[in-house]
Symmetry: D2
Subunit: 337 residues, 4 copies
């Protein structure tokens, strides 16, 4: 690393992207750089109150915009891009969640197609208090409100996919994208396999918080200022998105049906654990089977997301993943505050 730059990016009008891939970069970053990005919410900021029904105020495919892509110097196919989330700050004092016709886990959808009329579309506006670190739920059809913990996350982050593809930002897959997992909070490092020259990192779709599975189809959707640190790990491929925190390593699986997302994540974590520690693959399978966690990300997007997680303290040789990228960036992030 030859010096740390802080790149600040705020997308101008018309600059937001709706795909991963097939977009020209908006800025260049280098390994070790700090990147501060404004991200718009998944509705493009157009849903601000109960009357702003997404199906009326939003226009397909202009949903779930991301900021970027950022060209990462020296990132080539076969490398891994390590992205540390240093901070996610809500950009406004409110967030919003909605039902949406034929989208969500408890409704028929364009794929789970039925002849029933769609579920009612409705908007919930949440107050966000950064002092108390709370998000306030207010019922719309009954008299109840309650504070939930503020737990900001990035819903959508990824690189350009391989195979010359360009994928909608609604889609999570091996290139990342709309992973929609609460594990993507500050303090986590995301590892993404690089598919194209320059990686082409982009992100958006912040949530003030989200339940497991994002049942209604949306989290508490917010605009954010998100601070990242990036590092290129040369010559190390990464087949599926992976996460590292101080405590755990995690693999992300995206697929339908949901059990395939579970299989992908656990297959990757077992293989990763075995490669990282020298454990026989069946021993890794056994250890993950008894000690693993499997938090569900989303059960509403074009691919569903499940994570497989295991604590590093349980493994023979903890902490050496990706040449120590997590620890290095974690320390760098601590120095930023």
């Amino acid at each position: 690393m030859t010096g740390v730059d802080r790149i600040v990016y705020r997308p101008g009008p018309g600059e937001l992207a709706h795909t991963f891939g097939a977009r020209l970069p908006v800025a260049h970053v280098r390994s070790g750089d700090v990147l501060e990005v404004f991200t718009q919410d998944c509705f493009g900021g157009l849903v601000r109150g109960p009357a702003d029904l997404p199906s009326e105020v939003c226009r397909m495919p202009y949903l779930n915009p991301v900021s970027g892509p950022f060209f990462v110097e020296d990132a080539e196919p076969g490398d891994t891009l390590a992205v540390h989330i240093a901070a996610i700050t809500p950009a406004r004092d409110w967030g919003v969640s909605t039902t949406f016709p034929h989208f969500g886990a408890l409704t028929s959808t364009s794929r789970t197609a039925t002849l029933q009329p769609p579920l009612e579309e409705r908007v919930w506006v949440y107050g966000i208090d950064q002092q108390t670190r709370t998000v306030r739920f207010q019922a719309t059809g009954s008299d109840h409100s309650v504070d939930l913990p503020l737990d900001p996350m990035i819903g959508t982050i990824g690189v350009a996919p391989g195979g010359f593809e360009a994928r909608s930002t609604i889609v999570p897959d091996s290139h990342g994208g709309n992973l929609d997992t609460p594990q993507l909070r500050a303090g986590a490092t995301l590892y993404l396999g690089v598919n194209v020259h320059g990686a082409m990192l982009a992100l958006g779709d912040g949530h003030a918080r989200q339940g497991e599975g994002e049942a209604c189809g949306t989290g508490v959707e917010i605009a954010t200022t998100t601070t990242l640190i990036v590092e290129v790990v040369k010559g190390v491929p990464t087949p599926w998105p992976r996460l590292e925190t101080d405590m755990s390593i995690m693999s992300v699986g995206c697929a339908r049906p949901l059990e395939d997302a579970y299989r992908v994540a656990h297959h990757d974590l077992v293989g990763w654990t075995s490669a990282l520690t020298g454990l026989h693959v069946l021993d890794a399978y056994q250890l993950v089977s008894q000690a693993g966690r499997a938090p569900i990300g989303n059960v509403c997007d074009p691919n569903y997301t499940v994570l497989a997680a295991v604590d590093k303290a349980l493994l023979p040789v903890p902490g050496a993943a990706y040449q120590g990228a997590h620890g290095r960036m974690r320390r760098l992030a601590a120095g930023l505050r």
Copy 2:
């Protein structure tokens, strides 16, 4: 309640059951009774070391035996049986886990049928230390051992199904059965809809601990002495198994594919929350979507299991579920120690 009896049951030779339904009761219990039951492990105690491959020492269908059924007086179809788990004590100082041909999440199976040879069958023996509350993993193909927290649970518990059915104890469904969720630990109350005269409660398949999804197909399988308190909630039906702890209410969904298990659990929790609190059903959907947890039970049994959970503190009127059965039995359990 007209007095508390403590029924102690230890199955004699040949007395273990392999179905829910179509079995005569082994004992009678009444609302408020304390039931202390010895449960055998899922291998019938026949897998004791690395050489005891389940496919050789066990004989189908004599797997996953349960103790019972217990006839619960005054339990009739349309009622709910509330079962509080007061204690789960490992009966031995060891437990065992195995792979098993064509069973588990990361292998082809009898249903996800492929032409590949089966994954290798292997046995792991765990030491259990009740003083330190630990379970010791010992790798078999590499040199690594590590202590995991002891967290005993009951894998299989249920009542006779309706519709004159008798279901293998391997199966989880709306009658309970092989739910295989770590949430079934001491301190939890399980609500089961009664389908037949006397409910016919049975249980077995203890685990010293289990990861989410039970990826390899088994937990750390143990025999236990399990202490339950039962109560009949008259005139209240329960469509799917539900759980209550001091902190949360949870619904259990069992289905394939895994997203249907998620849907069943969340559909039930949303409806339960709405009925319990008066929240509009869409408000309940929204609150669960942002504040809910969705712990995966199993991704290996004939039906997969997902839970939907929400904290009672977030609801308008907490704690009144099932006429306060959980709190009542919780206090009774506290007096047992």
Copy 3:
């Protein structure tokens, strides 16, 4: 074979069964016997016109009744019961189909649970003309009627399951049951693995015809007089239901998700083909991949059904399946007319 008896069975009041397993036999039959059975329709004959909504006139679990079980002498676990369908005659000049709340392929269901109101329940009455071999569709909300070919089939046929289970007659699985495939027409021989002493064959749920997948949840439901010939094939196990016609052999897979039903059927057909002909298993896989058919049975029952079929003329040694049971019973059936 030591003589052919013709057993005629018409269930008396209250004699219909709603499970496979856990029922005492209604009659005994021997290998080679001809069995003539009256079967009631899936609604128990209670839906006779537009006003007879199934959810109102039928009572759970008294749906989909079967006639039997028949104790087959000399049938023991590990044997195969070959059942040739000699004739299926509609018992009335009408049949009926309906939508049903939360049942069917294009509606949310108890498992694919959504928060939407159920699809409208509606009844269609079909006229059946055995002279012209037609079934007359009459639209209910528009002015259109059209004749469809009469193509009678048995929706539900099976033996007692193993493992001491009793399964609802709504369920298709390895024991047969509610397979709901149009391939179960006169001229076909069904092979079922015997799980219990006496096999315990039962059948019902005739359809005057049915589209592939039974999208709305029901076929053109009819009562029938069905003529069967049974034969016990000693010492030959059958893991999943299989069919043989003059032209083809077919394996039946029952599972969720639907791809697992496809996998089960094709895995079985590939193995069956290989064992029957000596083809290497990968050659059998290849031949089935290019020459096979995969007719969908149902996409609405608790397990979905897919068949895998290949023409006997394409195989090295055609026609020797199950010691020639199909041909033998086919000739016997021809003599009956």
Copy 4:
């Protein structure tokens, strides 16, 4: 239509495409034009014998190449592109099929991920005889060969997807793509919704024949000369690919799990039937449920494919679909010979 041109296109070196979308057109065509296209096989012609294992001779992502895209004049988003398949002629006297590591219905895959070693990779070479209209299967591990009917089809055909996406040619979805259904034979008209200016039609991946589901992951793969006629149907959107033959109309569903592909296809066919004929949607549901066919396309690609089909003779007003495009192009095609 203002005159019929015949455009002949044979891709030059490096001209084949591996995505739908994000490619510049190779030629322009107008409504009514005849397009004669050489298509390479799915292996790019590199698998020619038993020693040419695809995983060795092919390089990802250079599989499943398509010829095109063709810019269709006057085709705009919201229109439908009608593509009539006039002829599919095998370009060589051989075809080839293979297993492929972790691809196919009876193997674990990158999504249905297991810890088992992959199934053996093997190549089958088929002789194609256009005189006898046969395809000759030759076993590789046993001594058996047999002639199958030649039944050429186009596996992959589609337009650029919407939402700025570019999708791998391996993927079938609402834009068409790798549908892999035997119904795409000469005589069929395919309707595709136009998503981008000029539609951007491309095609490839011919099969000399294919079983339902393409179980092993490939058909009898061939290069072809394919003759198409195209027509733009202005102002008529098409949500999912549809097919019309002289006998039937069909909708194509692409999704995972397989039941969702079934649902998509049947939901579309019911809606199409209702819109085309004035039948009440529940009457259309009923008629399709009893008279419909549901041929499976593929159970191996990133999305599975199921079709829903109904005969036009059964509908109130047959044949008027898409302003008679099928009949018009059918007659034009007849004049070509």
